[in-house]
Amino acid sequence: MDLRKTAVFAAALLPLGRLAWMAASATLGANPVEHVIHFTGQWTLNFLLITLSVTPLRRLAGWREPLRHRRMLGLFAFFYGSLHLLSYAGLDQWFDWAAILHDVGKHPYILVGFLAYVTMLPLAATSNRWSVSRLKSRWKQLHRLAYLIPALGTLHFAWLVKKDLTEPLLYGAGLLILLAFRWPFAQNAGQSLENPAP
């Protein structure tokens, strides 16, 4: 058993553990449903950005360890995204599909969030060795969507905020920085295929 993989796995479950503890001790605040939705949404974005920081960490700091866990980190983004969607559809809307469809159609920020989640589906589905060898170079192309998803997620966040844009802007700035690190390397991407993106 790979101890370090287990440690990363356990660490990635800590936010969920905290949420469960708060639910059990009734400390989710006055609007617990809203809290669960916001919390899981923020951790989806956090894991998306953590996944994107693997490559800069290797290139700038020469730290290769995170690369071994990137697939798992990406899958945790999907995991928290699934909890986010599930808490909205279940806890908030009680699986009232008519109300949900109305919400998605009328409120663009929900549509954008839904798009972000749908975009994660093919990535999660192909996060296995069989798919990598099967899809070959197309796998890499497909997984470039990992740049698009946090952008959609940040837009989803910014759009729902009533007035104070501080937090979405921080996520946006983080995302831009992580993407900017890739720019110089993108120039000679055609020559060196040794660094698989993202």
């Binding site: 809203e34 009680w94 007035k163």
Partner: protein, 312 residues
Amino acid sequence: MYKYPQPAPSEITPQETFRQRRALVAALGLGAAGTWPRIGSAARGPKLAGVQPTPYGRGETLTSYDDITTYNNFYEFGTGKEDPSQNAGSLRTRPWTLVVDGAVQRPRQIGIDDLLRRYPLEERIYRLRCVEAWSMVVPWVGFPLHKLIDWAQPTGNARFVQFFSLADPEQMPGVRRHVLDWPYTEGLRLDEARHPLALLAVGLYGEVLPNQDGAPIRLVVPWKYGFKSIKSIVRIHFTETQPVSSWTRANPDEYGFYSNVNPAVDHPRWSQATERRIGAGLFTARRKTLMFNGYGDEVASLYQGMDLKRYF
């Protein structure tokens, strides 16, 4: 006689220590801002004397004092729901002067304590519906706004009432940031302001209004979205023309002058058909939002013949 078990003084954590621990835990915490549970109801306001009960809202299940005082939109003290409860301690509510001016025959300037002596206080339990699609049931203490209006004697030209909140960056940390155009301002048509349901609230749960809920005096207009019920009022100004309120100025497509609770008119961000009742817990369905927040019998006549989709 039964005696409540009392903890020894040595067992009680001093509030400062408690705050420090809490800040430490929050700093070590896992990110997500504002997620730490609040301090329990520490210092509550003094009891208000001679409060008359009224039939308003009898039979409603009250939202808890804790929820009403820790889940607030009061951007002068920060944009997070728990910011006001944590930051509003710096608001000084004495001395406090309320200015009543504009198109009135008797412009007034009155200290809050003199104002409190002028009118008998009554308790009114009102539903509060926020534009963010959540709601509460609040036992306010106050007096009807029309009493103050009659005292100032509006001129024949007065058609609207504009309200202003205090905007002091020293007492209100949120005002140091330009989130909204300060001071916060709201408005009503004069006939709306004269409606018997419109209340000037100075108390909550029979006690002096906590700062985070708009002390020392705030408006409560229960058939309109919560942001119309302006907090910590320093000036009431009568005008001939329709005033522009803060949220309308910030985003005219989303927040209209009337902002009556209306399940049929959706907000671009939130469906207004349903609402979440605060305090109902994690596993309770949303409830249907009622036209005029359920006060249609009393107020619908104010809007007869008006297209409420246009005048939202």
